[in-house]
């Protein structure tokens, strides 16, 4: 049986502000989808709603994983069910070493029935695997001893997210601008590593504004989000078109969605000034 993550007519609000207005998306295990769209259109919101961020309220619609109701699950249960998100802005956890954090996370995700307080993955086994994966990502071994995202450069943070993807081996992963903040060489490495770790082995939803990350991860589908809705879906040529020509055609073709997007952006600017 191939795994399926299914999103149907999803509406999400932040506070009392509606952001997503009916998103439909079916992600099959082994597929790669690109999710594009202008700033503020709701791409990160979709990812955060899939992961279960408490600030993003699902007002209607459904998310299911192999038919099971994901909305019923707490974020940690979603992670243990095989859902992952690489964040656009990962949080720093001062004082917590990457290795300790990852050993805990990896144990919980690999052994979803583990009770609190039960043994973690044996240290040696874990260290060996972590070292190998870090070498693969050309990360300095010193990195494992640093505190989670604390004082990391933009590039280091994104690389740490990819390392977590590699360790946790989820069924489905949302990668939210995992290319931003990386220099050209680092983006190429990220693209290769993601392909290596996840292409055709996971269901990938890659949120990006550029084409480099997709170089080694050609999307089976490309979706365009505007004003909280997926207004168009195509193949990898759609991604190429958007990179070359931007969103003008899309904005003109979907004036209602464009109006909503502008309204949200205006509100955001207002809030920023207030």
């Amino acid at each position: 049986m191939t795994h399926v993550l299914k999103i149907e007519d999803l509406h999400v609000s932040v506070g009392d502000k509606p952001i997503l207005r009916g998103v439909n998306l079916t992600l099959n295990h082994g597929e790669t989808h690109a999710l594009m769209g202008p700033n503020g259109s709701g791409k990160s919101t979709l990812g955060l709603a899939i992961m279960g961020h408490p600030g993003y309220e699902v007002t209607s619609g459904s998310i299911t994983l192999d038919g099971k109701d994901v909305l019923e699950m707490a974020p940690d249960e979603r992670a243990r069910a095989g859902i992952f998100m690489a964040f656009q802005r990962p949080m720093a956890i001062p004082g917590v070493k990457m290795a300790d954090f990852l050993r805990h996370a990896t144990t919980n995700v690999r052994r979803p029935d583990r009770k609190e307080g039960e043994e973690l993955i044996p240290m040696r086994e874990f260290r060996k695997e972590l070292r190998e994966k870090m070498e693969h990502l050309r990360m300095d071994s010193e990195f494992a001893r640093r505190y989670v995202n604390d004082g990391f450069s933009g590039g280091e943070m994104k690389r740490a997210e990819i390392l977590q993807l590699a360790m946790l081996q989820p069924k489905f992963a949302v990668l939210d601008e995992t290319d931003s903040g990386l220099d050209a060489d680092a983006v190429r490495l990220a693209s290769e590593s993601i392909a290596d770790i996840g292409h055709q082995k996971m269901g990938l939803l890659i949120i990006t504004h550029h084409d480099k990350l997709l170089e080694h991860n050609p999307p089976d589908f490309t979706h365009v989000m505007l004003g909280g809705r997926l207004v168009e879906t195509g193949g990898k040529e759609l991604a190429e078109e958007l990179h070359q020509h931007g969103y003008d055609r899309i904005r003109k073709a979907y004036p209602d969605a464009e109006a909503l997007n502008q309204k949200l952006l205006a509100e955001e600017a207002e809030e920023a000034l207030a």
């Binding site: 992961m51 279960g52 961020h53 408490p54 600030g55 707490a74 974020p75 940690d76 979603r78 992670a79 243990r80 992952f84 998100m85 964040f87 990962p90 949080m91 720093a92 956890i93 001062p94 004082g95 917590v96 300790d100 954090f101 805990h104 996370a105 919980n108 995700v109 609190e116 505190y147 977590q164 946790l168």
Partner: protein, 470 residues
């Protein structure tokens, strides 16, 4: 003979005290409850003390009786006449493990003393109620001239050192509880490290209150001679009782020129104990004194380890961690007194308050006239886990010199929703995530602890955190 039954039903969730058990003891001698000249004389008789010590005790008793209770800190509600001031569990001090009575071993077993014993056979001393009943000292330490014994023995065997230093760093006049300790003190450690001798493993001691309503008044004196180096570690735990107990220790440290001393304490008292401790060190030219102080449990802790930097180049560092939960008040802090030029002081304090607990930082930085070119930096961070809990900061700064650098930073934070979500999204449960965030918060201090204490500290935090979320 021992029982595992706690003396009272477990209170709220999260109020787990790992050492919530008691061992029956048949004390050989138990002084009457209360305090007066007769009791103090009796303690001195039993210990067969020299006259100078008896006089010191009696003088201290007068001072204790004439001093008012401290007006700051926490609220103290103690009936001084309802406390046992002296209890001697065995009539001689055990030389080897085999000599230690079984019931006392049972208590040690539960505390994990045998493990510590295995690891640090050399340095372990254990205090059971008022007397040191078991201690061993590695031979080559003795060969180097190191003295590591209980303070009662030191009064008999090292009178010249004791008469010179005992009660000189913290005289009984200092405060009401120092006076009380000076009158009825019993046990505690005496350490002398000769010139140039460096001990490269920590010397350790365990302290423990057992009999109900029994005060524990240990008295520790550490002398680190010129160019010497020592790390002393003290861990304290106590079983839980319904009547309030009092722990009031005095710790005096002298660090001579170019010497170094680190004194590490992890205290996890039961929730009904008043923990009122006076700790002070004198650091001389280019010497370094470090206090590392972790306070968990107790009803009220008032403890402000102090370093007086007496000569140029002296350094004083104080690292303090406080964790307070329901019904607890940690009034902890530090004192740094710059009495000479070119001295450097640093205070780092971290406090965590949970389930209505209250943590206060109370600190004094004092720069005396003439202590020019001195530097002092204070950082205190508080983490509050819920809306019922509380944290306060009382920094006092007295500077009588122009040419000094003084820094003070304070922060108060709560566990952020975003940090929590990040950890949950990686499969950690709420419990694991909040414990991890708290451990991360104190990590900069925990990494200064010897390995097994760092593990113990993380475990204690985990126990304190259990049941706190969800």
């Amino acid at each position: 003979m021992s029982t595992d039954a706690p003396a009272e039903p477990k209170s709220e969730i999260g109020e787990i005290n790992k050492y919530n058990f008691r061992t029956e003891t048949t004390g050989v001698f138990k002084a009457k409850k209360g305090i007066n000249r007769d009791i103090v004389n009796q303690i001195s008789d039993i210990k067969n003390e020299p006259d100078w010590m008896r006089e010191f005790r009696l003088r201290s008793l007068d001072i204790f009786e004439s001093k008012p209770m401290p007006k700051w800190g926490g609220s103290i509600d103690i009936d001084f006449q309802d406390i046992f001031y002296y209890l001697k569990p065995t009539d001689h001090q055990g030389k080897t493990w085999d000599d230690v009575p079984q019931e006392i071993k049972d208590t040690f077993d539960k505390l994990g003393i045998p493990e510590a014993e295995k690891k640090f056979l050399a340095g372990v001393k254990a205090q059971f109620e008022s007397e040191v009943v078991y201690g061993s000292l590695e031979e080559d330490l003795a060969k180097k001239g190191v003295i590591f014994t209980d303070t009662d023995t030191a009064v008999r065997e090292h009178p010249e050192l004791l008469r010179e230093y005992f009660g000189k760093i913290i005289p009984p006049e200092d405060n009401k509880f120092a006076a009380l300790n000076s009158a009825v003190w019993s046990g505690g450690s005496f350490i002398y490290i000769p010139k140039g001798v460096s001990i490269d493993f920590p010397l350790q001691a365990y302290f423990r209150i057992n009999a109900e309503s029994m005060g524990q008044f240990e008295r520790t004196l550490i002398l680190v001679d010129e160019g010497a180096n020592v790390h002393y570690v003290e861990g304290c735990t106590a079983p839980m009782y319904s009547t309030e107990s009092l722990h009031s220790a005095v710790v005096e440290v002298v660090v001579k020129r170019n010497a170094r001393c680190r004194y590490t304490t992890i205290q996890n008292w039961a929730n009904n104990i008043y923990n009122l401790v006076t700790k002070r060190a004198y650091a001389y030219g280019d010497a370094t004194m470090e206090w590392v102080d972790g306070n968990l449990g107790s009803k009220l802790t008032m403890k402000y380890p102090a370093v007086h930097m007496m000569e140029p180049g002296a350094r004083g560092e104080i690292l303090s961690i406080a964790f307070s939960s329901a019904g607890q008040h940690q009034d902890a802090g530090a004192k740094l007194v710059h009495e000479a030029p070119n001295t450097t002081g640093q205070i780092i304090s971290k406090s965590i308050s949970k389930n209505g607990g209250r943590s206060s930082y109370r600190g004094l930085v004092s720069v005396h006239p003439g202590a020019h070119n001195s530097k002092n930096n204070v950082v205190c961070d508080a983490l509050i886990l819920d809306a019922e809990s509380r944290s306060d900061t009382y920094p006092y700064i007295e500077v009588s010199e122009q040419d000094v650098q003084i820094g003070h930073e304070a922060s108060v934070s709560r566990i952020g929703e975003e940090q929590m979500f990040y950890l949950l999204s990686r499969g950690l449960t709420e419990q694991e995530a909040s414990t991890m965030i708290v451990n991360g918060f104190i990590e900069p201090l925990v990494k200064e602890l010897p390995m097994e204490y760092a593990i113990e500290m993380n475990r204690l935090i985990q126990l304190q955190m259990e049941g706190s979320v969800g």
